[in-house]
Symmetry: C2
Subunit: 697 residues, 2 copies
Amino acid sequence: MSIAAFRLGASLGALMAATTLLSLPASAAKADEGMWTFDNFPIQTVNDKYGTRIDQAWLDRVRGGAVRIQGCSASFVSPEGLILTNHHCVVSCVQELSSAENDYVKNGWMPATREEEKQCPGQTAEVLTDIVDVTDRVLAAGQGLEGGAFIQARGAETQRIQQENCGDDAELTCQVISFYRGGRYALYKFRKYDDVRLVFAPEFQAAFFGGDPDNFNFPRYALDGAFLRAYEDGRPAATPNHLKWNATAPREGDVTFVAGNPGTTQRLLTVAQLERLRDQQLPLQLIQGSELRGRLLAYSATGDEAKRVSVDPIFGLENSFKVWYGQQQALLDPTFFGRKQQEEAELRQRVAADPALQQRIGDPWTELETVEAAARDLAVPYRQLVTAAGGGSTLYGMANAIVGMARERAKPTDQRGPGFNDAAVARVRARLQEETPISADLEEIRLGFWLSKTREYLTVDNAGVQTLLGRESPEALAERVVDGTRLDEPAYRVAALDMTVEQLAALNDPMIDLAMRNADQMAALQAEWGAKVAVPTARAAERVAQARFAVYGDNLYPDATFSLRLSYGQVKGWTYRGVTVPPTTVMGGLYERATGSEPFNAAEKFLEAENRIDKNVVYDFVSTNDIIGGNSGSPVINAAGEVIGAAFDGNIHSLGGSFGYDGELNRTVSVSTAAITEALRNVYDQPRLLEELGVGR
Amino acid sequence: MSIAAFRLGASLGALMAATTLLSLPASAAKADEGMWTFDNFPIQTVNDKYGTRIDQAWLDRVRGGAVRIQGCSASFVSPEGLILTNHHCVVSCVQELSSAENDYVKNGWMPATREEEKQCPGQTAEVLTDIVDVTDRVLAAGQGLEGGAFIQARGAETQRIQQENCGDDAELTCQVISFYRGGRYALYKFRKYDDVRLVFAPEFQAAFFGGDPDNFNFPRYALDGAFLRAYEDGRPAATPNHLKWNATAPREGDVTFVAGNPGTTQRLLTVAQLERLRDQQLPLQLIQGSELRGRLLAYSATGDEAKRVSVDPIFGLENSFKVWYGQQQALLDPTFFGRKQQEEAELRQRVAADPALQQRIGDPWTELETVEAAARDLAVPYRQLVTAAGGGSTLYGMANAIVGMARERAKPTDQRGPGFNDAAVARVRARLQEETPISADLEEIRLGFWLSKTREYLTVDNAGVQTLLGRESPEALAERVVDGTRLDEPAYRVAALDMTVEQLAALNDPMIDLAMRNADQMAALQAEWGAKVAVPTARAAERVAQARFAVYGDNLYPDATFSLRLSYGQVKGWTYRGVTVPPTTVMGGLYERATGSEPFNAAEKFLEAENRIDKNVVYDFVSTNDIIGGNSGSPVINAAGEVIGAAFDGNIHSLGGSFGYDGELNRTVSVSTAAITEALRNVYDQPRLLEELGVGR
């Protein structure tokens, strides 16, 4: 959930003119549209269209090889726990393993032996094993309740279902997931690995050749692949259900499946919800994101170490920026938005035409208009003081978690938040125990930026701002709390996790004090947001979903929720404004595009290998699969269920995919297993991995 | 014109909820609305409402004391050329006179004698002396022509009118100005002073107390006043038509007039034009402006000298950012925008109901829809390669002017641009001759930012981008051309101004080369923009204006065009969401608001003077006058025609004033002459100025 790391960049100029994005047809899904759950995949449709022989057994095999990691997707590709994903999904880990002396982001991570594979702090890998419908239990739990009581009851029931099915087994994850915006609820049960080690990562410059300018564009020449390995009991995990590695490059027209975890789509939002997104939320994110981007870019130019520690934050922010920008452009397109309005009008009309249905559904669309008006008033303080509090500072995040836990513990048991239990405390403890390098400079930048924007948007005279700042300036306060806190010491922060609110106060730790100062107003805003926005939205959205089921039947796919989905499609280029983009690039193209200037400088090892590698090997390719951020690292699978690539991006037109899929233009961008194999053999000389993948040395 | 320096900041949070902004009533102007020309002031309306005795003689006296300076407004306040304006209107000059050793921005500029007053490079002061209607001549010139020929013919006629009336007299400025978006044209004739010296400027921290967070807010405690002096023949100019300085503070309900040069309003734009502004232009400006803001803020934090040279650029950018943000919020407000739509529908209906009128006007609204669709496609390349080319780099701007002049000279006389003539060359030469300090760091930041955003928005594969960058990265190219150019030497650049294109190429000056590389694509885009956007817009807008005159009569005020206007109103607070804001602050309030942290640290001299000054003197005040950016420094005038303050800001609600005036909420913020007098006496000890102002020592 939270951050889906999948890169969704865009060539902004071209996009601004893109007016042909189609929205989700409210009736049956057409073209290669849909992020389908594994229990509702349109088997017949696909077999009919592509002549494949998919069946439930095929789906089960694929599901067994698909892996969910933090913010990304992946797959087992050997019987010994080897995991294929994107480089950009592991770059945080690479950065954490790096230091000023050993910069593996720059030079790549490629140990010669399995013994040198190093654990990625906090990294887990999860394989979906069971899906159980729990809609009735969840809906029943909230019935007749409002506000806090509703949230409490739903949350408690969800916890109960999860606890009943997974107990305290550290090797299992149980997660109740909402589908169709509350139209269905299902328990997803996973086998979980929490010792995941970094096996291989190419140089950043090989993985991200073309950088931000090429992000979201195609043709591409990026080796955005990396390997992890799941361990159990200190040994490589046995993973007999892995996907077979097929190093034959795909060809135009080949059928492709993508199994992964699309993070979030908003195709089922009502017009009122989309309007606030377009007019308030996205503009604010874009404006604030841009300023932070400028601050980070200027900071990264101040020296080598500044540049090194900024790589990952800048990468992540620029990627998010493009996603938001693309979403905004899609929503600002009058044709596109008009179609969303038209679809909603049609659904409302069909409900109105059926008195019994009308009686059951009511008018959730009008309800959501009222909710969005309330959200508009609350959104800025809610964002600045709650959801964006700390501005991404790691230390503030820790302080906030510690303070939050202490405050929950201090409450009577029945008033505690639904997320507060032993398992949650254990997760926080595990995170606090990790030794993660923290850049004080970046902490100050993030915290100072957050405080300064909070003052700007809420004004100097706002009580919340005064509570945070006192008589200090944002910058001075940020510097003082970052300099003064001891939260950069794991032992200290773990000890703090067990303290009462009073004990925390007695520490006189300035970062903890800052989080404490914000805690009351945060709680008040959360309660208000819950009562005025979150709960009424949940209640109304459920009925919108029920209206869809009633009108269009069950043959629908739900919005993305960072849960396992399967999309189908084929290797295929596209034509836009008379320009046809072929579906594949070859490795030799890298040398033609390379200018020698960042970010168009080829990686050193690629330059050295120019005479060794086969320039005709397919490098990257596009397909019509319907994916979105979170799908990064997803295995691209052929009709035989073998992995032939790893999805790592979308083309520019895919950015509107958050709100609707256009089969003509929307494309998934993947790196081929053929290219990865060629690079392992002739660029990086990795015989042990080649052997493990079953493709010789 | 160009940059109106007037600060229009806003408390963004409050503004986001502001939904009550009224748009311009298409019929007669109500409330205290209107930026009236001096030849069409609603004398009777004002006298009736406020019991004043304004007549044409009164108007002529005020006009004679009003002064236009670069991007701002001002007034003569002594018979010896003394000019009152805002500190923020002279801060660039203060910065130019400063050095790392003598930072007058920080410490203030307050020479003890007249002999020490120093010239502000490039600063002029203009007093309007005549207004002549030239509508018929201008309209006749373009009749029957299209595209380039239209622009050429109109431009040539404009030049002719100006030349006929001012000749080559260096003491005169003649400017043909468009009013009502082409509904009227008038020749404005000015007495021009081009030796303008800095007399007095307080410390930045006194003038801009509260900084960006307080910008656009009220209550305020800012001494945003400064003095210049016009010289002729090396001696203070004789200015018998000055306004009398009245140091008595205004009181609630007092009538106030503001005479100044509002820069730009867009109240007469059609809905199609406003839509593109809202959906394309403002989002792009906000997003790019934010990133540059982040880069500049981060740069300014790298050291004392970086901070010093960044003060003015950051100030200007943050101010513009708030204006754009406020404009966007106004246009995103459905109530506000709905009213604009309703007004347009009403006007179109009235035209349609009158066959003769319909015949004469046609359908310029639909024409403008088509124009805006074309503009949408062209706007991003046009912005990146033409209007925003160079990103504000001073050196690139010089290179571009030099190259542009050489290219014009190379053309046959009848194909030269209408702006190319001896006077224009002389103006450029004068500018190039000035010794202005140039920060290489800021030049690199601006240029690198422009190149990088141009690549981002037009994509790597765009021919224009490739022409600019070649194989270099934006940052490396920016560094190379800034390091390598000699355009920082006045003699070198003045010499370059007389060179042919070939001679310029032979210089091998990297900055000139960069401007040369961009010249062809710039010219092509300018021609395309002219043909598809500028000319058809001009033609259609004229007919919209004629429709307004036909339907509503002549009793209308035109959109702002940085030409002299008069607004009327009264000293008055406002009430918003139950909170009433009183109309005045007193000087003692500064000490209560000061926290000691930037930007809420009071200036040193104010702290020292705390026991001397009269804390009850009115500091800043608000009035209902209808003004906008460009009005900064405008004299606030009482019924007797005496100056009682200088306008320096608007309140948050005034931001929507670009599109419409709301008498309930829209307020002008001014610093009182009472406060300036008190500060000159008890904070800055300036007896020579007090005497000159006629208020003792």
